[in-house]
């Protein structure tokens, strides 16, 4: 109880309140601009968090990401261009509703069920994290190795591209993390004699390059999206209670799927939305209405992607293993602020954890009024010409990278990773897997090498402990899953051809 009161006091600080409000507006605006994803919004915030108190820093990340995931629905609904990848799953459906003259209902559903998903996801975080923390206390390097590896494998499953290319991207990320002196012997590795590389490659320049600079590069070679027609909106929340009652069961299913996918290390909001939309269509009583502007899928997937956002913090806070690219950034911020992820965070820094929960709830509640305002001014915001937004983003990339270490080499790195991300994306290599590889590389290597040293080079102890055995089985399941799907498709194709 004392902890809870302490947490309230922490959240009520002036700087935290200002941080929440400012990052909410920032998240809403950036998320609504097509091509600027929630991950990018968060990555560009990191240099700002350097100068904030720990709670305010985490509050900015939580609020901005939640708002950006919601407001990605706005251009999806009005222009058929998803603002963030997490909205892509149901963009066609929302746009179909707009064409039927139900834009208010589609946007309102995005907002209302995003908020519900966020709150339910937070409750799952509150309930699950302490339980899992007990368990995590007994984990050894073997379990951590498998968990990190499982996270990386999930990241490759999420990618809607060739699983082999996804694994290759992840390995490339791990290779990048090998650069520098932070290895078991402390010798310079792959530094090519450059002193700037001795410290290794920080995840932030890589993230900014891959997510933001590559987006500016893409803007250079693609046509500008059409401007939004001006329109007046009726009441946004009018029909939402009716929808909540009518689609109560899909809503809960969306929440639960989102929570489960969020907890899986490596799989995030994009995956949750895709899976939930597919589920909703499969189990709906009226599957033939999907794609024609039917709100059911919107309800389920809209709840799901925001629920996954909160539960994605479970593996991040407990094990330091990111649930998705946003929490990958958040982990960096946690370390920077002395809130090192791990099970002891819940016992020793309980008040900070309560503060984190509170921020989640507050962010999802203020999402409703701020979201309504955002929807109403969306046609003005979306009118901002790309030729004005992108140059400023580029300037922020340069300054942000410079600010993280006050060194110009990171600005160069941002450019290099921009090119890498651009080329990879154009050739079907998922960049999120690369980023997770870079973020988790050091941790995977440390646990891998320590485990090998402990076991004297023997592989068997990796599987002997019960939890590590289960995690190993899950990891290999994830690894072999694409193969199974491939064989299944093959045999089914033959049977169809034969029949």
């Amino acid at each position: 109880m004392m902890d809870l009161l302490e947490a309230c006091r922490m959240v009520a600080q002036v700087d935290v309140v200002v941080a929440i409000l400012a990052s909410a507006i920032y998240g809403l605006v950036v998320g609504s601009l097509p091509g600027l994803s929630a991950t990018m919004a968060t990555a560009l915030l990191v240099p700002v968090t350097f100068w904030l108190s720990p709670i305010a820093a985490i509050a900015t990340i939580i609020t901005a990401s939640a708002m950006a995931i919601f407001s990605g629905d706005i251009p999806g609904c009005l222009l058929r261009i998803p603002g963030t990848p997490a909205s892509a799953a149901y963009t066609d459906e929302a746009y179909a509703m707009t064409r039927k003259g139900q834009a208010e209902m589609a946007l309102g559903a995005g907002l209302w069920f995003s908020a519900i998903g966020g709150v339910v996801g937070t409750l799952s975080l509150v309930l699950m994290a302490p339980l899992l923390a007990e368990m995590a206390l007994s984990f050894s390097t073997y379990e951590y190795f498998w968990l990190a590896f499982l996270g990386l494998m999930c990241a490759t499953l999420v990618a809607r591209s060739s699983p082999i290319k996804a694994i290759a991207s992840m390995l490339l990320g791990l290779l990048v993390s090998c650069i520098g002196m932070e290895n078991p012997a402390g010798t310079p590795r792959f530094t090519f004699g450059l002193t700037d590389l001795l410290g290794g490659i920080e995840p932030i320049p890589a993230l900014v390059g891959v997510f933001a600079v590559s987006e500016v590069m893409r803007a250079m070679v693609t046509a500008e999206p059409p401007p939004l027609p001006r329109r007046k909106f009726g009441s946004i929340l009018a029909n939402q209670w009716m929808l909540t009652k009518k689609y109560q069961w899909p809503m809960w299913r969306g929440n639960i799927i989102g929570i489960i996918i969020g907890v899986l290390p490596g799989a995030g909001a994009d995956m949750a939305a895709w899976v939930s939309y597919a589920m909703s269509k499969k189990f709906s009583k009226e599957p033939e209405l999907f794609g024609t502007g039917h709100p059911e899928g919107l309800v389920e997937a809209g709840a799901s992607n925001n629920a996954s956002l909160a539960s994605g913090w479970v593996p991040s806070l407990l094990f330091g293993i990111p649930g998705d690219t946003i929490t990958a950034i958040a982990i960096g911020v946690l370390y920077m602020k002395g809130l090192n992820p791990g099970p002891t965070l819940f016992t020793e820094r309980a008040s900070s954890m309560y503060a984190l929960y509170l921020i989640f709830i507050i962010a999802n509640i203020i999402m409703i009024p701020l979201g309504i305002i955002m929807i109403r001014i969306a046609s003005t915001v979306l009118r901002a010409p790309r030729a004005a937004v992108m140059p400023v983003i580029l300037l922020l990339c340069a300054v942000g990278a410079f600010a993280t270490g006050s060194n110009l080499f990171s600005v160069l790195l941002v450019g290099v990773f921009g090119i890498l991300g651009f080329v990879m994306e154009r050739n079907g290599y998922p960049v999120a897997a690369l980023v997770l590889g870079i973020v988790m590389g050091t941790m995977v290597e440390q646990n891998f090498v320590t485990s090998l040293i402990k076991s004297d080079g023997d592989i068997l102890p990796f599987f002997e402990r019960p939890v590590s055995g289960v995690l190993a089985a899950l990891t290999f399941g994830a690894l072999l899953w694409p193969l199974g799907v491939w064989i299944w498709n093959r045999t089914r194709g033959r049977r169809l051809a034969a029949g």
Binding site: P47, V48, W51, R160, S161, S162, I164, K165, I167, A168, L171, L172, L174, L175, C178, P184, A185, T187, R189, F190, V213, V216, M217, M220, V221, T222, A223, E224, P385, R386, A387, A388, M390, P391, V392, L394, L395, L396, A398, V399, F402, A403, L408, F409, V411, L412, G415, V416, G418, I419, V423, R426, N427, G428, E445, F448, V449, L452, G457, W486
Partner: protein, 155 residues
């Protein structure tokens, strides 16, 4: 730039092979079998396998066919425009110290805005205002030591 799977696969094989070979030559920790060489060796071998599979077209059936947004005609020369942002970042690295942040930032914004097809009426005011605002936020509020160069900020 769109490359064939053969090319990207071959690049990955070469990169993985190089990483494994160079990595395996790293000095070991005395008295221990597992050292800094182990991880690059594993990763490099994995990359070689993946690269080979990609080059032979395994797993392509999973890919969502991507819609070509740029035609083949303007793509040849127009594709180079994509290199403008990284080039501007490189420009920032070398110019920000001597020229100062405000001037460098203004040039960056101006070039990027023109490359995106902005009219001077938009690009010029943007190039003046945006660096000033960014400087104000990062230098004054966040205390990032941005270089002053030849044109120091008024604050």
């Amino acid at each position: 730039m769109h490359l064939s799977d053969r090319v990207t696969g071959a690049v990955l094989v070469a990169l993985g092979g190089a990483a494994a070979i160079v990595g395996s030559r790293l000095p070991a920790v005395p008295g221990q079998d597992v050292g800094p060489a182990a991880f690059p060796l594993v990763i490099g071998s994995g990359l070689v396998i993946c690269g080979a599979l990609i080059a032979f077209g395994v797993g392509r059936s999973f890919e969502v066919p991507e819609e070509e947004d740029a035609g083949p005609g303007p793509w040849r020369l127009g594709g180079l425009r994509a290199l403008i942002p990284p080039a501007l970042l490189a420009f920032y690295v070398y110019a920000s110290e001597p020229l100062g942040f405000l001037l460098t930032g203004a040039i960056m914004v101006l070039v990027a805005a023109f490359a995106l097809g902005a009219r001077p009426r938009l690009a010029v005011p943007l190039a003046i205002v945006a660096p000033l605002l960014v400087h104000l936020a990062f230098y004054k509020l966040l205390r990032v030591p941005l270089p002053a160069g030849v044109l120091p900020a008024p604050w």
